[in-house]
């Protein structure tokens, strides 16, 4: 039993809950597809079906399932998680080897969603490598340092864009005033 599988057992103490979780997500994805969603759900549907068909077996396996769970956790709306928790009496917890998430929202404030997604994905990719090589403590420290030192340049770039827009507007107002006078 690996650390990863213990995470899954901690998330879903009861295999029926894992099964229900997968079933609810399959239904949710089917609904999204019927509503015309263009997102490619193919790999996730396959994994969710596996999880749904044999939850006990899957709970013994490690990393592959963790990625599926992490993805569906990321997609999960808080209301869905609350409903699930109410129905089953337990809620899926945060995956153990995820980087600290509290800082991520800072990027979403100042960057476009696509750009932010790519940046957070890059951080997560390198975080996993560092965690594997040097352990969780060092990886967490690296991640936090990256977030803190990244905020400055990103905020500054956003401020410069804003100032440019404001100064452009000021020029337009000035031109308009001159034309009127």
């Amino acid at each position: 039993v690996t650390e990863d599988s213990s995470h899954i057992q901690r998330n879903f103490k009861n295999p029926e809950h894992a099964q229900k979780y997968a079933w609810l997500w399959l239904k949710s994805i089917e609904r999204k597809i019927s509503e015309g969603s263009t997102e490619d759900f193919g790999p996730w549907i396959k994994d969710l079906k596996r999880l749904h068909d044999s939850p006990e077996k899957l709970m013994e396996v490690g990393e592959a399932n963790e990625l599926v769970l992490r993805h569906i956790d990321r997609l999960a709306m808080s209301s869905f998680v609350t409903d699930f928790a109410g129905a089953c009496g337990e809620a899926p917890q945060r995956v153990k080897d995820c980087p600290p998430s509290a800082a991520e929202f800072l990027f979403y404030v100042f960057l476009t969603p696509a750009n932010c997604d790519a940046l957070v994905g890059d951080l997560e990719e390198r975080y996993k490598i560092i965690r594997k090589r040097f352990g969780a403590r060092r990886a967490n420290f690296w991640y936090l340092v990256q977030v803190i030192t990244s905020v400055g340049p990103i905020v500054w770039a956003a401020t410069k864009r804003l100032l440019k827009a404001v100064s452009g507007l000021a020029v337009l107002v000035d031109v308009w005033r001159r034309l009127r006078s």
């Binding site: 490619d40 696509a114 790519a118 890059d122 390198r126 030192t149 400055g152 990103i154 770039a157």
Partner: protein
């Protein structure tokens, strides 16, 4: 597009990283290569903002790849140096080379 723009040191490092990485140049690999070339830690935020600036100048182009499970379903943003970027980097390399040659001639520093 600026034609006689002087590149900053960090911009030169990033453009050099893109040339070295080729088709495998996306955020994480560029960040890693920049730290390797600069011999020190750099924030990924500064790498991204510099890449955005270089894209605005027309020296870099970028596009988003497909989401992958390894990154928790997030997409990669790939980068590529443009012809104008190569030209301006070559110019910067030439200036650096001239400086090295000049210092060698007087036997100083290098």
């Amino acid at each position: 597009m600026a034609t006689n723009d002087n590149l900053g040191t960090f911009e030169q490092i990033i453009l050099t990283s893109l040339v070295i990485l080729g088709e495998n140049a996306y955020g994480a690999t560029v960040h890693e290569k920049v730290e390797e070339l600069a011999e020190g830690s750099r924030s990924i935020g500064s790498v991204y903002t510099t890449l955005d600036r270089l894209e605005q100048k027309g020296y870099v182009k970028s596009w988003f790849g497909d989401p992958t499970p390894e990154r928790g379903g997030r997409s990669k943003r790939f980068f590529e140096i443009t012809g104008a970027g190569q030209k301006v980097l070559q110019q910067a390399m030439k200036v650096a080379d001239n400086m090295v040659t000049g210092l060698r001639e007087i036997g100083g520093l290098v």
